[in-house]
Structures are given as structure tokens and as C-alpha cells.
């Protein structure tokens, strides 16, 4: 085990996979940075420091620093994948998904199906998402709910450096297209990361805290919000079973239902707005499949039905927080 930040785990994983498999390639804006400038290549080394040094090691055929052309980035990744490569495409901000949605949704997600199962499109799209940086409505969104609803895509949200390594390795090796959501606020967090070959299969939730009074189902950045809420509630003798979904597509229904069968009370914590969200989707699944076990209506703690605001005070009000989760837990516990 080595201590490292999530951004280091991601960079190392990409480097390891590129060394292991000559078919792995990368495309994205400013992956190298400084191309065509006085500062020269690697003047930036990737704005998230998740591609530093890769161009130098693997060259421009495999580490492709692209113009600002999201449709061309994702479309090229699609074409390269059909031609037999394993592209990793980066969307510098997940919000830019709107620019290239056709390539993701109508193209990559549907190729295998439309072509009668005679193609594969092993593209990994890394999307940098999430609020908390006063980056305003077009650089802060948690757009994974929308993409989770799309058949043909897998949607992955690591919450720890170890999971980032295990899930990203799996994503790159996976033969289906994977959307890999990296939260800006998680890049700097540190944790133990297993050394050597390490994959985490999709569709397996991680039990973050074990508890019996209430189930918290969450993912991505909201995992740490739930951990803080659970730690505070534990001091009052309230124990939370905290589940990190890790992948919203496929969804580990079994782990969620098992926990709800035990606790009978559930709070869904999701950084995206509430309508047609992962939270509302999982709540519906629970109501549908574990109705008899429920002792209280499921509560949702999500962002509101609004864009992500800019000002500090507004953004804080927008985001789910430990106090909001604690309130929701109290509501489900008080229900008779």
C-alpha cells in the first residue's frame, strides 16, 4: 500500500495501463499543455495533473493533445475504439458533455446494439465534475444522473484514491464504454492505494460504515458528506449503514436492498438535482422491491432543482451537507 492523492492514483493508473497495453491511448484538451507556445510542450502537464509526463513517455501518437473540440475528441475516441484501440478521452469539465452529447449518447452508447453485437467500443471518458469551487453554473455540475439513464453506458464515480485505481483500471480494460466521473474536490484527498494489478468489478457497492438504524446510499463526493454525518450521529448512538454505490450503472441493487431490509429506513444522498436523479431512481427501486421492509418513506438529500450558483453563500446553500443529511436521518427515524 502506498499513500497517495486521488489525482496521483489516476495518473499512475493511466501510466500503468499505457505501459501494459499498447492499444491504450489518450485524447483531451491541454493533456500536454503548452503546445504551440513559447513555453513549449509540458508547460502545463495537464490542468488537473492527471496526465503529467505521459506525452514525454508515450509520444504524440498515443497522447493526443487536442484543440478545444469536444465533439471531435469524443468522436475520435469512438472511431479509434471501433478501429481496435482503447482510448481514454478527457472532458476537462463534465459540463462540456453537452457539447459532445451526440457522440456519447447516439454514437458510442448505441454502436454495439445498432451493429447487432458485432462491434465493441471500449472508450473510457473521464469527466471532471462537481461543485464546491465557485466555478458557477457551467463548470460545477454533477451530470451523472442524466448519463446513468442512458442504455449502453456504464457510469462510475470513485470516492477514494484506492477506488480510483481499481475502478479506472477496470474501466480501461472494460469492453463497454465507461463514463468515469472524477470530483474536483477529491483530487487532493489522500488514501492508501494497493500496489500492483488492482481492479474493482463494476456493480459492487462499498460499505463505508456499518450500521443498523438507517441506510445512507450515496456516491462520489457525497460519500464524505455521509461519512461526516454518520460520525456525528454515531456520537448520539445512531448507527448508519453507509453504502457507496461506486457505479450508478450498473447498480448494485442487492447491496442496497439487503441494507434496507436490515434498517427499514433509508436516505439517498446525491449531488445532482432531484428530478430524474440517481437518488429518485434508487428510491423508486427501493419502494418497488423492498416496500414491506420500509418503516419510513425514503428521504432524498440532493441539490435543489436549480443551476449551481456562483457566490460562496449560494453554492454552500446549494450543496448537500452533513447537517442536511443529519436532518433527513432524524426525519426517517422519527417517522411512525
Amino acid at each position: 500500500m502506498a499513500q497517495m492523492m486521488m489525482r496521483e492514483a489516476i495518473l499512475e493508473t493511466i501510466r500503468d495501463e499505457m505501459r501494459r497495453d499498447p492499444k491504450v491511448m489518450m485524447l483531451g484538451e491541454d493533456l500536454v499543455g503548452g503546445m504551440g507556445t513559447a513555453g513549449g510542450p509540458e508547460a502545463i502537464g495537464g490542468i488537473w495533473s492527471t496526465s503529467t509526463g505521459l506525452w514525454e513517455e508515450f509520444g504524440s501518437d498515443r497522447v493526443i493533445d487536442t484543440p478545444i473540440s469536444e465533439s471531435a475528441i469524443i468522436g475520435s475516441a469512438a472511431g479509434a475504439a471501433l478501429a481496435g484501440k482503447r482510448p481514454i478521452a478527457e472532458l476537462m469539465f463534465a459540463d462540456f458533455v453537452g457539447v459532445c452529447m451526440d457522440q456519447i449518447w447516439n454514437q458510442i452508447a448505441k454502436f454495439r446494439y445498432m451493429f447487432g453485437g458485432k462491434s465493441k467500443c471500449p472508450v473510457t471518458i473521464r469527466l471532471v465534475y462537481g461543485a464546491g469551487f465557485n466555478a458557477a453554473p457551467q463548470h460545477s455540475q454533477a451530470v451523472y444522473s442524466m448519463l446513468t439513464s442512458m442504455p449502453g453506458l456504464k457510469v462510475v464515480l470513485p470516492s477514494t484514491p484506492a477506488d480510483a485505481k481499481g475502478l479506472l483500471t477496470q474501466a480501461i480494460r472494460d469492453d463497454d464504454p465507461v463514463l468515469f466521473f472524477e470530483h474536483k474536490a477529491l483530487y487532493g484527498i489522500k488514501g492508501e492505494v494497493p500496489e500492483g494489478d488492482y481492479t474493482i468489478p463494476f456493480g459492487h457497492a462499498r460499505q463505508v460504515r456499518s450500521g443498523e438504524h438507517v441506510t445512507l446510499v450515496t456516491c462520489g463526493m457525497m460519500v464524505s458528506v455521509c461519512e461526516r454525518a454518520a460520525d456525528q450521529l454515531a456520537q448520539e448512538g445512531i448507527s448508519c449503514d453507509v453504502l457507496d454505490m461506486r457505479t450508478t450503472s450498473p447498480l448494485d441493487e442487492e447491496a442496497i436492498l439487503d441494507s434496507v431490509e436490515l434498517t427499514g429506513r433509508v436516505v439517498l444522498v446525491d449531488e445532482s438535482p432531484p428530478r430524474c436523479s440517481v437518488a429518485s431512481d434508487v428510491a423508486a427501486m427501493i419502494a418497488n422491491k423492498a416496500f414491506a421492509a420500509l418503516k419510513a418513506p425514503p428521504q432524498l438529500v440532493t441539490a435543489p432543482h436549480s443551476p449551481v450558483p456562483f457566490a460562496r453563500e449560494l453554492e454552500s446553500a446549494y450543496l448537500p451537507s452533513p447537517p442536511k443529511v443529519i436532518d433527513a436521518v432524524r426525519t426517517v427515524l422519527a417517522y411512525r
Binding site: M25, S60, D61, R62, I64, T66, P67, S69, S71, A72, I73, I74, G75, S76, A77, A78, G79, A80, A81, L82, A83, G84, K85, P87, D102, Q103, N106, Q107, F111, R112, Y113, M114, F115, G116, G117, K118, S119, K120, P151, G152, K154, D175, D176, G203, P250
Partner: protein
């Protein structure tokens, strides 16, 4: 370049196959035998075949909204395609894609597309894959005069130049983007190749109704791209013999326009005239190819009608490889 007798016969066979395939679909669709939207390629055969006769299975093409011709020119199975268009379980795409989504990756045919203009970036990606492999392979982005107005096409051209991808942009100007003329919809109506040139590519123009001119020009492009000059483009002036989709009343056509283009710009007629005048092939050779091809299409339709229908359980197959 002088083509051998076999090469000439193969090129003619491919063009006639496209024509016969499309004419038969036109008839069967009118009878109500085939569901959905179908966009026929007849009239443009010399373009697809003039380009694809230079390619091997491991060169890639990305097709358009009007893709049957590109599929057939790249060697996708005639019967599998017919079964697909008939919505049969045994079709090229098991009845999941239909007319607009025929693909055969093993033949280097990466897909026709329901979204006009979506293909060009994908061709750039396939070309980047070729560049990684360093085997001299190329990728072709077929686009029409409709797709040339999509931002994706501009992004793809810019990216191909920036990355020096061995990508060839083939613009087939058939003078109609759906039901609208290029004088209205394309700001550089008579000049699409110039757009590619503006992105820094060398661009050629050819008569897309003349197989030989298209074929010879494509040879120059291929030599240029394979020599490592990055991407290139060609604009082909061609004609669409049918409507945008089958059932299109084509009220936008001028008086006598269809008769005129069929009389003056039919690529099959031009091919026949050229090879018989030059005594490379005689009428009997060409008639034999036509008869064999018509028989193949009859067989393909009979087999498609008899082929098994997909079952409801197949809805959920092939969404993922593993989930």
C-alpha cells in the same frame, strides 16, 4: 491508370449491385414491405465505388445518412444487408439498426449514421488508430453537402490537420441536403472543397458521376496521404436519383430534372460507353454482370422474406458486452 479486365468488371459489378439493390428497395418499399426510413444511394454509385475500390478491409470508412452504397462498395454482404433492411434476426445488425445503421467492422465499415455529420470525427479517430499502427492504412470520412454544414465536420477537419491524421474527407455533393439546395443552405454553395483547403488540407475536385475520374483522383489523394502529408479532401459532384427518403414527393425538383440527370449523368451509362468505346469490355460482358447482379438481388429479397423475425427477448441483447 489502366485497370485490368477483372478490375473493370469488379467495379462495374459493385456499381450495378448498388443500383439494383436500391431500385429493388424502391419498389418493395412502395409495396409496404419494409418499415421505417430508407435513404437510397442510387445515382451516386461511381463515388462510393471509385473511392472504395482503392481500399482493403483494414482501411476504414465512416458512412453517411445515405449509406447503402458505401456498405456495398466496401464489401458488406448483400444478403445480410437486405435481411437487415427487412428487419430480420439474421440481418447484418440482427434487426437492431436497419437501413440507417448498417456497419461491418470486419470489413472496415464503421457505420452509416442516423445523425447527419456525426461520422467525420469518428473517421479522424480511425485515422489516428492507423497512424499509431504505421501500416499505411487510411480512414475515409464520407459526408454530403448536408453534413458539410455541421460543426462536427469542421471540428473533424481541424483536428485531422492538427494531428496529421491519415484521413480523407470525401464530400459527395448531390445538390440536396434533405429537401434543400446548396445555394440556400451552404454558404460556399459551389465550393465545399475550398472549406477543406481553408483548414489547411490539399483538396481535389472530381466528377462523381464518372467512375474513372473519381478513381484516378482518389489514387492521387491516397498517394499523397500515405506519403505522410496528413489529411486530404475531395469534393465529388454527383446526383441523387431518388428523394431524400423513400416516400419523398420531391416537389423541390425542377421540371424534367430527374429525366435530365438520368439521361446525362448516369454513371453506369458513362462507364459502359467508356469501356466499350475503348474496347476494354464489350456489351455482352456488362450485360452478363447486370443479369447476375439482378439474380443476386432477387435471391437476397427472397431469402430476406423467408428469414426469421427477431424475438422480443432480443430487445435486451447486445446493449452491453457484460453488465
Amino acid at each position: 491508370m489502366q485497370l485490368s479486365r477483372d478490375q473493370l468488371l469488379q467495379a462495374y459489378r459493385r456499381m450495378v449491385t448498388i443500383r439494383a439493390f436500391e431500385e429493388r428497395l424502391h419498389d418493395e418499399i412502395a409495396k409496404g414491405e419494409i418499415a421505417g426510413f430508407t435513404h437510397l444511394y442510387a445515382g451516386q454509385e461511381a463515388a462510393a465505388v471509385g473511392i472504395c475500390e482503392h481500399l482493403a478491409d483494414d482501411d476504414f470508412i465512416v458512412s453517411t445518412h445515405r449509406g447503402h452504397g458505401h456498405c456495398l462498395a466496401k464489401g458488406v454482404d448483400v444478403k445480410g444487408m437486405m435481411q437487415e433492411i427487412y428487419g430480420r434476426a439474421t440481418g447484418t445488425c440482427k434487426g437492431k439498426g436497419g437501413s440507417m445503421h448498417i456497419a461491418d467492422v470486419d470489413k472496415g465499415m464503421l457505420g452509416a449514421n442516423g445523425i447527419v455529420g456525426a461520422g467525420a470525427p469518428q473517421a479522424v479517430g480511425a485515422a489516428l488508430s492507423c497512424k499509431m499502427d504505421k501500416q499505411g492504412k487510411v480512414a475515409i470520412a464520407f459526408s454530403g453537402d448536408g453534413a458539410c454544414n455541421q460543426g462536427t465536420t469542421f471540428e473533424a477537419m481541424n483536428m485531422a490537420v492538427v494531428t496529421q491524421a491519415p484521413c480523407i474527407f470525401v464530400f459527395e455533393n448531390n445538390h440536396y441536403s434533405e429537401h434543400t439546395g446548396p445555394d440556400y443552405a451552404t454558404a460556399t454553395a459551389t465550393d465545399i472543397a475550398g472549406r477543406a483547403a481553408a483548414f489547411g488540407m490539399k483538396a481535389w475536385r472530381a466528377n462523381g458521376c464518372d467512375f474513372f475520374e473519381t478513381y484516378d483522383t482518389m489514387r492521387e489523394l491516397l498517394d499523397y496521404v500515405r506519403a505522410g502529408h496528413g489529411p486530404a479532401a475531395i469534393e465529388l459532384d454527383t446526383e441523387r436519383f431518388y428523394g431524400h427518403f423513400e416516400g419523398d414527393p420531391q416537389r423541390y425538383r425542377g421540371e424534367g430534372e430527374l429525366d435530365r440527370i438520368r439521361a446525362e449523368r448516369d454513371c453506369l451509362t458513362a462507364f459502359r460507353r467508356k469501356v466499350t468505346e475503348a474496347k476494354l469490355l464489350d456489351d455482352a460482358d456488362l450485360d452478363a454482370v447486370e443479369a447476375e447482379t439482378r439474380a443476386l438481388i432477387d435471391e437476397a429479397v427472397d431469402e430476406a422474406r423467408a428469414a426469421p423475425l427477431p424475438t422480443p427477448a432480443m430487445v435486451l441483447e447486445d446493449v452491453y458486452i457484460s453488465y
